[in-house]
Symmetry: D2
């Protein structure tokens, strides 16, 4: 039997071994529950330090869907909705979690998974020039992903432009950072994590897809702009407050003590670039240009049949000419050996 080598997702292994080691090391410490413990406090300090924002507020949650739903519920009043590209995770793959909190997702067409700032501005202008707008869901915030669901990246000026529209129309701006690491360390990125913090009202630093067992760190760079007194209560209401909260704290301690968070992401991207190069060498086209850990080559049926005998990856989208766009995903855990086997097979296509 051949063992299939998996490139489906970036969460198919456990966690970086340093995290497991820390779990063992701290196992018998006694701490209070629900995120009131020294590890959580320390992890918050580390993140504030990385951001050079000593007053930033940080909260830890278990997973991305609950994080998005909680933030959006927090930021919106009852008649407001959240703007997203139609391919946004909240609009497609979260089972209606946003609507379950009572809010509409207002969609803009995506450009390789990204919002066009000018289209956003025009959308807002048109909205308020419609005389019936007070019978409509009011745009209250913008949701973007960095890197996006398609592995693409906003430039700093694009994001600044989006922020300017948000400021003009009183929209809060929230960045889904499930794959923040892969975005920031990409060669195609012109932003740092402090830029991110300076250009939004909240974002999260995704752990699940970057070497943690699970966990996302929500950051409010300017907490003085919001009333966060009951945010923990909201996390609890939304089912996101972990009893053994220190598990989240200690994972982010490990990730941010010595830069492991960025190292993990760098490793994932390097492996992805190797895959990319191999497909390019064979003149196999891509659905999208991505310089992060997700690669979307377009395969013929024959190529797909051949590759899928040894490797698993996601079938992304059937195309009109009978070809198929697929996704290869790398992570902190992707080994050179597996990459080399894949490259060899690509050569043989």
């Amino acid at each position: 039997m051949i063992t299939i080598i998996r490139f489906e997702t970036d969460y198919q292994e456990g966690a970086h071994p340093e995290i497991l080691a820390r779990l063992s090391l701290t196992n018998y410490e006694q701490t209070s529950g629900y995120g009131v413990d020294v590890h959580t406090e320390h992890a918050k300090e580390l993140i504030r330090g990385v951001l050079s924002r000593p007053s930033a507020e940080v909260f830890f949650m278990v997973g991305g869907t609950q994080t998005n739903a909680t933030l959006i519920k927090y930021f919106l009043s009852p008649c407001e909705g959240v703007i997203s590209v139609s391919s946004g995770h909240i609009n497609v793959h979260e089972s209606g979690a946003v609507e379950a909190t009572g809010h509409k997702v207002l969609t803009l067409p995506g450009h390789d998974g990204l919002i066009d700032p000018d289209e956003l501005r025009e959308y807002m202008r048109a909205f308020y020039s419609d005389p019936t707008y007070d019978h409509m869901v009011q745009p209250g915030m913008v949701y973007v992903s960095y890197s996006s669901e398609l592995g693409t990246l906003y430039s700093r000026s694009q994001l600044a432009d989006i922020k300017a529209v948000c400021d003009e129309y009183n929209l809060r701006l929230f960045i889904d950072g499930a794959r923040l690491g892969a975005g920031l360390v990409s060669d195609a990125s012109d932003m740092t994590i402090t830029d991110i913090a300076g250009l939004c009202d909240a974002f999260y630093i995704g752990g699940t897809k970057n070497g943690a067992l699970f966990g996302e760190a929500v950051v409010f760079p300017q907490p003085e702009k919001f009333n966060l007194k009951t945010f923990r209560t909201l996390i609890k209401q939304q089912g996101g407050l972990l009893a053994k909260g220190r598990l989240l704290g200690l994972q982010f301690e490990v990730l941010f003590e010595d830069g492991l968070y960025f190292e993990n992401a760098r490793h994932a991207n390097i492996q992805a670039m190797k895959i990319r190069a191999a497909f390019q060498e064979k003149n196999i086209p891509f659905l999208i240009e991505s310089f992060t850990n997700q690669q979307f080559p377009i395969l013929t049926n024959e190529q797909h049949k051949k590759l899928s005998q040894k490797f698993s990856y996601e079938t992304w989208q059937p195309l009109e000419d009978g070809k198929i766009a697929v996704r290869f995903c790398t992570s902190w855990a992707t080994t050179d050996e597996n990459i080399n086997q894949l490259i060899q097979e690509i050569k043989n296509l």
Copy 2:
């Protein structure tokens, strides 16, 4: 500096070391996400085996509050509410998670944390004899905890009686098993886990408070009675579907391979009984008779002041005579050494 020995909760340490060992052992296995993996499948099989119910459906979720809210949302139609004792966890300490799904918690007075079956029957009779009942929230299910928030236990005949009322009035019955282990292995229990499965529509086997890092196993003993096709989608919507779902699977594998789940609970109860005996010996009364891992002695202010210098525990309820009811909680991790120090201090009160 004195290190405070903590008896606050049963989730103040990490996890049973065998769980950590398994995490390390399986760390580099590649699996699909979201609970579609061999560990999850195996854990389900083990649980079905323990229940002698090969057709039972099992789902794994991260925490208790999200489990309760998801189950209640699943079981109720829009005009229905859930009956609970007023001290029920869903009515007090879940930040309105049930109401956030659109449903009312209908409260009955508790008797040491338990519903009286006769009061439930009378409540239902009175409800349907009120001519305005169709302007009211309809009772659609009953929520009970085993063991209860006060450490107490339904007898088998009490639970059967509650189930009979449920059957008569078309109420679904759901058992919160956050502390199921401590309940079942208690000397005061006359039920087994198969009894539990036979007397409800769903229950959950709590892992967080019994040696897992986190995790609860939801069981539908008779899945043919319900449409569970979209239950996973609902878990996702409620933010409870873990990306690395295998983490839940492998923890419950460890807990149910060789009876560790019950061993952990037995250890917790044995340690609790020692505490209980020590207070009894000093003629210190209890708020409630509990034979599980939560003990509620009533302390004078002086006693409280003395004990709290070395130990932490929860202050439960100020009493009218100036005394104070407190809670000591034990777990799989409570050491003999810590117990002995506590007993020594109790003797010296």
Copy 3:
């Protein structure tokens, strides 16, 4: 066949004839929809005039349940709940409309249908002294009814006391005025409508139960304290924005042009006092002392049997001694003839 004379409710007839006349008179006027019309504007002006509050904001809605749910949804943030006596309309007879907006009703025991200000203060004190309060629904507002569901009335000092607690704990105060008229014109009342406006954040002036076909006027006496820009959108979302909004406007025009609103209520109370006197004369006791248009005599079975042959009224509550508390309700439409027939029968009991 005997025609039963009905004293069940105050909404069992159509509307005051002047309202019907105005409907006919204005029938062919063409106006914009959704409350943007001259009648609505005029009605708002009239109400502002009665209140001597030229800057008050007024909105018109169709019915009480939707008004309560909309106001409560408006005033609360996601983790907040509304405090009410357990007999409050929102807690009993609105089919869970408040919970359907995601919020919990937090109950205090009623004293003849009223909140005791001291108990409210103690409730708030206890809430914030509970160390686990951030796992609980936070009290965000207080809901009271004037007159109450039991026909009783807060004194001005009681209401001021409640307002003081609200101010201390940042609770918004909302007065359900479904029967505001009957309350204000009662001999037992020491308040005017301007007092009401001065002691709350919002209240509504009930039309349905006081001579309108339907309709409630929501008043924000100090709109500058709130962001009401999207309140109309919220009314629309909650299904309360009437297409032919002018119907609401013109009814309140009629009711407030020459004091008809208060006349209607006065008539109802006078008729109720006659019923009250008749029962008193027969030494028939009351469940509650009410000086408004709801009367709650306690009948023996025999008396009930006799009276119910000619009259209908609500059976309110079976009592322990086999007697039964019932409710007689009067309105703007209750005729002297019907009252006299009832009094005659009471005499013959």
Copy 4:
């Protein structure tokens, strides 16, 4: 000062005079509240008669938005959404009322306001062939409007085709009949009201836009397929249960006793066809071919400027060439005199 003649909507006047007459006639009748009265019963019988469906269930509600939200909440389970064209009323002009009940609106592109049955079939096929579909909102029902928001009409075969897709994929089918009358009596319609009843799971007969003061009659043609026991409770929860329910009953009595409902619609359509002819005669194009009471001519700025000095109508959509699509709407109340004045002006354009 010139009085502007309004063609903005079909709800800008009061009600058909027979309805006002009946209101006066019945004003002092005493009836129970909430739709339990002889007028409501009689109206239900009349509607069942018109449908030749003696077992149909009929409920009366106040307005369209609350009717749509209530039906959709009733038909969907928590993870299901409702399919609509993107121009559907529920997706645009109901302030997020559907999302406020927790459900997503899943949009299909409209074809002159209509769903293409083949696109619906393809949408469903694609949905279930997506391997990640259980992370997505499941389509649970289809929402269509007859006549549509753009005045257009499904043919009988189109609707039957949509119903076939619904049956294949277990989708409930709901028809918004806010303008059902104008649709059914249109020369372009090939359906009767019994056809409508035979091709859906529920529909409503719109009163507000066809001569009633307000009111919509919800019909379940095959109630045995659903559990409707608590539907009234749901109406109450959604704020749609009118206290003086008889007002709804007696309006629908008047509308369905002698065919007034269809007469009103016929009048509206005849007046609309005159407007249509006048624009056609001037070779003024239309945004859409409509044979119901909404007409969408495309005006130049000059034409618009001229017409809007004497008439009001809705500006529908700015077009790319600087022209503007507008909407003229007629109703039961549109007089010949007003029509003639409008036609004269059109001639003079």
